[in-house]
């Protein structure tokens, strides 16, 4: 099992005629993603790599029963595209774009909530259910199927960490990039709840960074009776206070944002907290051991 995405997900690609859209179609199909439609206003009726292109998501959903949308449009257009997909009935909408105004993320989140849909993004590599399907550009060789659910605020860090897990023989159920922005389509807590309910996920690895309050939610989950074992890596131990480190939310503003404080909070909650990247596999093993694996 996996969460959110598997080989039965029927994917519509918005912006399929762009460079990213086209690359995504060839790369993700090779991996097993079931791409059923594309959308490119003004170019409906054509085909990309054999995938039919429609004028609107609603038309694509009508004709192909697409239920999952991948948004590859410029950051200035993500809000419109994501809301179109949600209102056309897609249950899962993924937008990887960074440099998107936070007000747009706020609006998409509100519309997703009102429609009972799930939005993943912005500023994320997407998500992958290893061996089944992927919604994003993550390098496929970094992943293998297994029982570790992974949640990450950072794309490249999740590639690095998952490659280490895979080389060590630790497979993943699903790897979700929740993104580095302050308002997220899916929060760490929401992703944790999904993994909690997934019988095939035995433990969760959380990849976080300085700033924000996601780590407090992770600690709160870990303390809950019956929680699945959690391992974590928080980066930014050496980031100077008061400087935004790339991600809008990666900023040490107060003591609670700091690496030291987050690690202390997580350890106290029983999370297997890695000292650094090189310690990730050991902590993942400890979490899996506690899960009886």
């Amino acid at each position: 099992m996996s969460i959110l995405l598997d080989s039965n997900s029927r994917v519509v690609v918005q912006g399929i005629t762009g460079a990213m859209g086209t690359f995504f179609v060839s790369d993700s199909r090779r991996y097993g993603t079931n791409i059923v439609a594309g959308v490119s206003p003004g170019r409906g009726g054509g085909k990309v790599d054999g995938v039919p292109v429609f004028e609107s998501v609603a038309a694509a959903v009508r004709k192909t029963k697409a239920d999952t949308a991948m948004v590859f449009v410029p950051p200035t257009a993500v809000r419109s595209a994501a809301i179109e997909a949600i209102e056309a009935g897609c249950r899962l909408v993924v937008a990887t774009a960074d440099e998107m105004p936070v007000r747009d993320a706020i609006e998409i989140r509100a519309v997703a909530k009102a429609n009972g849909a799930r939005f993943i993004g912005p500023n994320t590599p997407g998500l992958i259910s290893p061996g089944k399907a992927k919604m994003g550009f993550m390098p496929s060789f970094c992943y293998m199927p297994g029982h570790m659910g992974v949640i990450s605020r950072s794309g490249s860090l999740s590639y690095e960490a998952c490659k280490r897990l895979t080389l060590a023989g630790i497979g993943q159920s699903t790897v979700v990039g929740i993104g580095g922005d302050p308002v997220k389509g899916t929060t760490a807590m929401e992703a944790l709840e999904l993994f909690h309910a997934d019988p095939d996920t035995k433990a969760v690895m959380y990849l976080g960074e300085i700033g924000g309050t996601e780590e407090a939610a992770v600690a709160a989950y870990a303390k809950r009776p019956g929680a699945k074992p959690v391992a974590a890596l928080i980066v930014g131990a050496t980031a100077p206070p008061g400087k935004k480190m790339g991600h809008a939310a990666a900023l040490v503003g107060s003591k609670a944002d700091s690496h030291e404080e987050k690690n202390r909070m997580l350890s106290r909650a029983g999370v297997h907290t890695a000292k650094g990247i090189t310690n990730v596999v050991a902590q993942a093993r400890a979490a899996l051991k506690r899960a009886g694996l």
Partner: protein, 412 residues
């Protein structure tokens, strides 16, 4: 009863605080060096508030080198306030009460020649010294816990907001969810003056609308003063813009252009490529992609006994030769940098293209500073063949590359 004296004390300290509201009762003193990137100047923030129907003091702006402008100040006393994009100016003497024209000139001269948070003021704001009856705290900011905007209010503003009870919070979420009756229920226990309460609710609505329409991530009024006349006036204002809304907001585009203009030519070229650069105090010039991985590499450099010279995220538009060129130029030019470590783990960023971009950059570079590579991710299998044509080596682990960079940094 609060008096002028309290305002004087408040003026010294309220500037030190900027509430980011990410958590209950958390205040942050904003960075001391270089200011918050997308924070606008107080006088700019006050113009924005004014345009949203919020009363601000009728201040006079005195620009550097334009002392003649100070002659427009006719009524004293005034609060003469250095206009800089960082906190702590009050504590550093950046806000001075001035009683007359002669003194104004002397104080202005001094303020213009003083650095506040690493920034020399380009202008001073001379605000009339107003008789304050009570000081309040009101702000709107973006908070994940609220799924969007949150309103914060404290009946005790100014300096008292720091030590007193934390402000109450009204989670708005998307701007269209603002409900006066919900905010009223939250304000009732802390604000007994019902007339004032109603005016605060009206102001809060305007602030939320403004934050959304103007793409502000923080709008803070501290203190919001009730004058002896009963009028509510924003004595100070802090506004932080959302950089990524630059394409739909002229003020944000201008702020970005200002940052670009103030940067030196090396940094400006990097900003034009949308690279994110933060200078640090070490000697290993780290070129990386993705914020998390960059921080992960920084942490490992420290673990192995080295120090990074920068946080340098080159992930936007990274696969072209042109994209990396200004990054190398900046680090080659920086005398503190002894060795350059390129650490990129790409998904959509394809490593064959990065390797070719590196090859072309190495051919163009004149600097002899050593470069250590660790490329991994999509199409990494093509990298060794590309690198072998010009004698570069690609480390297959982050550990190996960092260890080598630390060794070279110590040697040189």
């Amino acid at each position: 009863m609060l008096t002028l004296l309290v305002y004087a004390l408040t003026a010294l300290f309220h500037d030190y605080l900027l509430f980011l509201g990410m958590n209950q009762a958390r205040y942050i003193s904003i960075q001391k060096k270089g200011g918050i990137r997308m924070m606008i100047l107080e006088h700019e923030a006050k113009r924005l508030l004014e345009s949203a129907g919020i009363t601000v003091p009728k201040g006079i702006l005195i620009r550097s080198g334009n002392f003649a402008e100070s002659r427009r100040v006719k009524q004293f006393p005034v609060a003469l306030k250095a206009q800089v994009r960082s906190g702590g100016r009050g504590k550093q003497g950046g806000i001075v009460r001035v009683n007359g024209a002669v003194r104004l000139k002397a104080v202005a001269k001094k303020l213009f020649s003083t650095e506040f948070g690493g920034e020399m003021p380009e202008s001073l704001l001379a605000d009339p010294w107003l008789p304050v009856d009570r000081e309040l705290y009101l702000s709107v900011t973006v908070d994940a816990a609220a799924d969007g905007y949150v309103v914060l209010y404290s009946p005790n503003g100014g300096v008292e907001v720091e030590g007193g009870a934390p402000p109450v919070r009204y989670h708005v979420g998307a701007p269209w969810f603002f409900r006066a009756h919900n905010l009223r229920a939250i304000l009732e226990p802390v604000e007994k003056d019902f007339q004032l309460r109603e005016r605060v609710i009206a102001l809060a609505q305007r602030l939320v609308d403004m934050a959304a329409a103007q793409d502000c991530t923080t709008v803070e009024i501290n203190p919001l003063a009730r004058l002896k006349t009963g009028e509510l006036v924003a004595l100070d204002a802090k506004i932080v813009y959302d950089e990524w809304a630059h394409y739909r907001n002229a003020g944000i585009a201008a702020q970005r252009e200002g940052i670009r203009k103030r940067a030196d030519k090396w940094l400006r070229a990097c900003l034009d490529m949308q690279h994110m650069y933060v200078k640090l105090d070490g000697n290993i010039g780290l070129i990386s992609g993705g914020a998390g991985m960059t921080m992960g590499a920084m942490d490992l450099i420290h673990e192995y006994g080295g120090k990074p010279a920068c946080f340098f995220d080159c992930s936007p538009g990274p696969t072209s030769t042109r994209g990396y060129k200004p990054a190398f130029a900046l680090l080659d030019h920086d005398p503190a940098v002894r060795v350059i470590l390129v650490s990129v783990f790409g998904g959509g960023t394809q490593m064959n293209r990065v390797a070719n971009a590196m090859k072309e950059n190495m051919a163009m570079r004149k600097s002899k500073k050593p470069v250590v590579f660790r490329l991994d991710g999509t199409f990494v299998d093509q990298v060794p063949a590309i690198f072998s044509t010009y004698g570069a080596f690609n480390h297959d682990s982050l550990e190996g590359a960092v260890r080598e960079a630390v060794r070279l940094a110590k040697k040189s």
